[in-house]
């Protein structure tokens, strides 16, 4: 059995309390949400926090998924399974359901949280790609108050985010705009495995034209999990095989995959293009009201 190094344990009773504990205990204190990334790292002693602040008591406060004005608002403590089970999510952003179906397995999805996923900032983390494609924003709170950043700006590198030592992510806001279609495509070595590569596509159609697009890429070293080049190719175009191919080519060209045991970079780059094309086809079909 792998066992963690000694650590102190605190339970946060509110968001303010959690932030207060973070400030009080200093940078060697860490939040733990679902624990599905952090606890394995502790057991492998890759992470040796002095204190762990359990935010599971905040599940009621931060675990909701709702519509607020023209935004879908997802609490940081919503579990993967909550997202997967939410009809309102499925109605507006099927890309999130597509992604959730291929994130880990039911056991992990029952506990793992949306906030934990984004803050873990694993380069192969699926929701970062999906939410970036949707132009979502992250709501971050500290003792000084609340700020929002685009999910695309959240990650500063592998396992690094702009969330400060004494801050926490509280919500994700996804703007709801008309004519949206979205989809997710992932290739994994086995069910429950992290992506070899994955692509999220979102399009907003206006009178037969793609008025806006989001292309998220996962596990292929795309800067900020997105391909802005592919998005630029799509914007203002009527969907066609050629446009999709050009966007896919841009996605493949702009990413920067590394070779590892999941596959050579050349293969991952191929997948970035192939999966972008597949996701786009389904996203466009969905935007056009077809079942896909």
């Amino acid at each position: 059995m792998q066992v963690p190094a000694p650590f102190g344990y605190e339970r946060a009773t509110s968001v303010d309390h959690a932030i207060q504990l973070l400030e009080q205990l200093g940078p060697e204190a860490r939040l733990v949400a679902g624990g599905h990334s952090f606890i394995p790292m502790m057991k492998l002693r890759l992470a040796q926090p002095e204190h762990v602040i359990d935010i599971n008591p905040l599940a009621a406060e931060l675990g909701t998924i709702s519509i607020d004005g023209s935004d879908l608002v997802i609490g940081a403590m919503a579990r993967h399974n909550d997202l997967l089970g939410s009809a309102v999510v499925g109605e507006h952003f099927p890309v999130l359901h597509d992604a959730e179906r291929v994130i880990a397995d039911p056991v992990v999805r029952n506990r793992g949280t949306i906030g934990g996923s984004l803050c873990q900032a694993d380069p192969a983390e699926d929701l970062s790609a999906a939410l970036s494609a949707l132009h979502a924003t992250a709501v971050i709170r500290g003792s000084g108050g609340t700020r929002t950043v685009a999910v695309r700006e959240l990650h500063t590198g592998p396992y690094e985010t702009v969330v400060g030592d004494a801050e926490m992510l509280t919500h994700i806001r996804v703007p709801i705009r008309n004519g949206c279609g979205s989809a997710y495509e992932k290739v994994e070595r086995r069910v429950g495995d992290w992506a070899i590569a994955a692509a999220a596509a979102a399009v907003w159609m206006d009178g037969g034209i793609i008025s806006d697009a989001g292309i998220g890429l996962c596990a292929v070293g795309a800067e900020h999990f997105v391909s802005t080049d592919a998005e630029a190719v799509l914007r203002g175009q009527a969907p066609s095989d050629d446009v999709i191919a050009a966007a896919a080519a841009a996605a493949a060209a702009g990413c920067n995959p590394t070779t590892d045991q999941r596959g050579p970079a050349e293969y991952k780059r191929h997948l970035a293009g192939e999966l972008t094309a597949r996701a786009l086809r389904r996203a466009i079909a969905r935007a056009q009201g077809a079942a896909a």
Partner: protein
């Protein structure tokens, strides 16, 4: 699936063979199993092992003072401590030596360097960080193909005069005859096909990792060792021989075991350390390895680089097969197999086909990798052999433009040829191969599948159909040929019938999930007519069971199952004498009706086995020389191996854009003789098929250029889940073994042995339009896609750009 109609017991179980729920599952499904890690003893301490971060490095110094100062640490043991006890090195199952704790050098990533004993496992693990080891890194040998290069670092410089990494060369078959067959084939316009292939290093990966609780009682001098070993008796003897402990003072208890697959055959350094830890601290010491330790350091499997050459006439009659093997044995030669068989039973590679000429040469080398080469459900390397022959037969079919089913049908050994002696000297006991293959083809709807494939191919879709026909050789083995470390491979067995007719059978073999508590009760039931619920199976405790070699190589039913049949027959014969006495007739007047001796022609006049049990313990006066009671014992020395066989067909669909393989169907026809409990047999086949699919598609232990193990967690070492396997379609034929008392052949490994080639053949069949004949396992999406580009990857090394 046919079920033989059998009478049932009061509990609804069959008397004898037939489907019944597993007796042991009552405790398992309720969470009442008792595994090594469940053992809690008063005063028990916990051990943890410090492991090498390097694959090859000289140990400059080890400073344990800080760890020793940890308030909860009771002892820190290093190689130097063990040297004083003569235990720094231990013998392997292949007559090599292996470091228990490294003294001079570390030779693989994850090798054992020091052992901490502390009050709890957290403190033990914490203290590992307090040990300061200074290493001087050395050049590593990672690629087996470079191990014999003149400039390769010498790994085993601990061995006097060792100047290279060579372990052994070994040959089987007739090289001259094989050369002649190849020359003749070419002269007659036939074909010769050559193919290199790797059966990569995999890991048995049982759910329960390896572990022990060692308790050396300082007063009585008795060592009790709870250990999840597949071979408790062999372990006891080896401990006695190696550590010089008196054998009657060693009790090995193998409690419930969560999977073995060969992983739990060897004695690991952690076991020895926990014994030493108990001696030093005078307290019981538990050591349970964690998942990464299991994957990185304990017995791996396979790692055979094979080059095959097959010769055939132009119309597809096979004439000969030659194989060269480069075997990667890691840093210590520790493979588990009978002494006279350094490459295990690999020379059964001629397979299920009838031809006269074959030869193989195996060269084994040291590399900076974990030692092992254990069974892993491979029947002593028959997995590698079957993979080789079944893959190369497909390559031959490709060369000839012949259907692989037709080519196999044409060459299978015919039923009337049994017993059949192969060109490398095995005597196959019985079989009807064409019947099994035909059944599999019929179940698959082979013609229709080929039609569908042609249609799909025309549309650019990739579908593949793969066939594999295997012959296994299990039940090691005849004592005169087979021993492990000098211990002959015969199994003892004891049966006691209590006065009320309830029975206890004591076995030398140890179950790790195979269902022995049910199967062996059914064997006794079959022989004596006692309901299986009235038969208690006792195993896994060396103080309470007779000697035998253990459970691996599918040997339990062929060897111990035969012993159980024989011992029950002895009881039946003794009961006959008692019946004759009680019924006042001659033994010759009696006939056996399941569960009862009765007078011929007067069936009302008889005694049940239960009545006879009571009489055996009663004051009934028995004939001169007949002792009371109804117990018997036996030692079974198998006259030959048993040779189960089967025909497997796999259907895959491949996504050409991503290289993802979907196993759509898997048809498995197995012939293991009569099935004692068909449900258990099917479970064994299911497990083996999942294993085989895993091996073919995802499992591998690769190493990077520094010798770092790249398969050290379940994130990296992928096991298949229910999502990767189809609903299996099982079929059976029954060809009894002529020499086993019940006609039974082993089945534990059949599916693991037979299935990988079917999956790989199916994938390569699907990829035919790309003109590539072979790619090595595992056929991950990346490997399939690279193969489609004509550039399959080497899977034993880290992928590089």
């Amino acid at each position: 699936m046919t079920d033989t109609a059998v009478p049932t017991s009061a509990a609804g179980n069959p008397i004898g063979f037939g489907r019944m729920l597993r007796k042991e599952d009552v405790r398992f499904v309720r969470g009442h199993g008792n595994y090594v890690d469940d053992v809690q003893l008063p005063g028990m301490l916990h051990g943890a092992i410090l492991r090498s971060p390097y694959a090859h490095a000289r140990i400059v110094s080890i400073d344990t003072s800080e760890a020793e100062a940890h308030p909860k640490v009771h002892a820190v043991i290093t190689g130097a401590t063990l040297e004083t006890l003569g235990l720094a090195w231990m013998p392997t199952l292949s007559y090599d030596t292996q470091a228990v704790l490294a003294t001079d050098k570390v030779r693989f990533h994850g090798q054992e360097v020091a052992f901490v004993v502390a009050e709890d496992r957290y403190s033990a693990r914490d203290a590992l960080n307090l040990i300061d080891v200074e290493y001087e890194p050395l050049p590593v040998v990672v690629d087996a193909k470079k191990a014999l290069d003149a400039d390769a670092a010498v790994i085993r410089d601990d061995k006097d005069g060792k100047t290279d990494n060579h372990i052994y060369d070994w040959e089987a078959g007739d090289a001259v005859k094989a050369d002649e067959a190849f020359a003749a084939a070419l002269a007659d316009g036939g074909v010769v096909v050559e193919q290199e292939m790797l059966y990569p290093r995999s890991h048995p990966a049982p759910m329960e990792t390896c572990g022990t609780v060692a308790h050396m009682d300082p007063i009585t001098g008795k060592l009790v060792l709870w250990s999840n070993t597949q071979a408790p008796h062999a372990h006891r003897t080896v401990y006695a021989m190696v550590a010089g402990l008196p054998e009657h003072k060693i009790q090995v208890i193998a409690p419930d075991i969560g999977g073995g697959f060969g992983n739990k055959v060897p004695i690991y350094p952690g076991y020895v350390c926990s014994i030493v830890g108990s001696i030093v601290t005078k307290r019981p010491v538990k050591w349970m390895e964690d998942r990464s330790e299991n994957l990185m350091s304990t017995g791996f499997a396979r790692d055979y680089h094979m080059k095959g050459r097959i010769a055939a006439t132009k119309d597809g009659k096979i004439l000969g097969l030659q194989v060269d093997v480069l075997a990667d044995h890691g840093a210590f030669h520790a493979t588990a197999q009978p002494t006279n068989y350094p490459a295990g039973f690999f020379h059964i590679f001629t397979g299920s086909y009838d031809y006269g000429a074959a030869h193989c040469k195996v060269t084994a080398v040291y590399t900076n990798k974990a030692p092992g080469g254990v069974a892993y459900a491979c029947s002593f390397r028959i997995t590698e052999a079957v993979y080789l022959v079944e893959r190369i037969v497909d390559c031959l079919a490709d060369e000839l433009g012949m259907d692989p089913a037709e080519l196999r049908m044409k060459n299978l050994i015919q039923p009337e040829q049994f017993p059949y002696t192969t060109p490398t000297g095995w005597e196959y006991d019985s079989g009807d191969y064409p019947r099994a293959l035909q059944l599999a083809l019929d179940m698959a709807g082979y013609e229709e599948l080929r039609r569908e494939q042609a249609e799909k191919r025309a549309k650019g879709e990739l579908m593949g159909i793969g066939i594999s026909f295997f012959t296994e050789g299990v039940g090691a083995g005849p004592r005169k040929h087979m021993d492990i470390l000098g211990l002959g491979m015969a199994d003892g067995c004891e049966l006691r019938i209590h006065p009320t007719g309830k029975a206890q059978i004591r076995l030398s073999v140890q179950t790790q999930g195979q269902g022995h508590e049910t199967t062996f009760a059914q064997i006794v039931s079959h022989q004596l007519g006692i309901p299986p619920e009235d038969v208690e199976v006792i195993h896994g405790d060396t103080d309470n069971t007779p000697f035998g070699l253990g459970t691996y190589g599918s040997r339990s039913t062929p060897v111990s199952g035969a012993a159980a049949a024989v011992v029950a027959e002895r009881v039946r014969e003794k009961a006959k004498i008692i019946a004759a006495t009680a019924l006042e007739c001659s033994v010759d007047d009696l006939e056996w009706e399941l569960g009862r001796w009765q007078v011929k022609g007067d069936p009302d006049n008889g005694k049940t086995i239960q009545e006879l049990a009571l009489l055996a313990h009663s004051s009934l006066e028995l004939p001169e020389g007949v002792e009371g009671h109804l117990d018997a014992s036996a030692v079974y020395n198998p006259p030959n191996l048993t040779y189960p066989f089967g025909a497997y067909i796999c259907v895959v669909d491949i996504d050409p854009g991503t290289g993802m393989v979907k196993v759509r169907r898997f048809i498995a026809v197995d012939d293991c003789g009569p099935r004692i409990n068909p449900m258990i047999v099917e479970g064994q086949v299911h497990g083996g098929l999942v294993d085989g699919i895993g091996m073919a598609l995802m499992e591998v232990i690769a190493f990077d250029e520094n010798g770092t193990c790249l398969g050290g967690s379940y994130m990296d070492y992928l096991l298949p889940t229910p999502m990767e396997v189809p609903m299996f379609e099982l079929g059976e034929t029954v060809t009894p073994s002529p020499h086993h008392p019940l006609g039974c052949k082993g089945v534990g490994e059949s599916a693991t042995v037979g299935s990988p080639a079917a999956v790989v053949n199916a994938v390569m069949d699907a990829l035919k339009p790309y003109g590539v004949r072979h790619a090595d396992m595992p056929l991950t999406p990346a490997q399939v896609w690279m193969t489609m580009q004509g550039r399959p990857l080497r899977t034993d090394l880290a992928f590089t750009d």
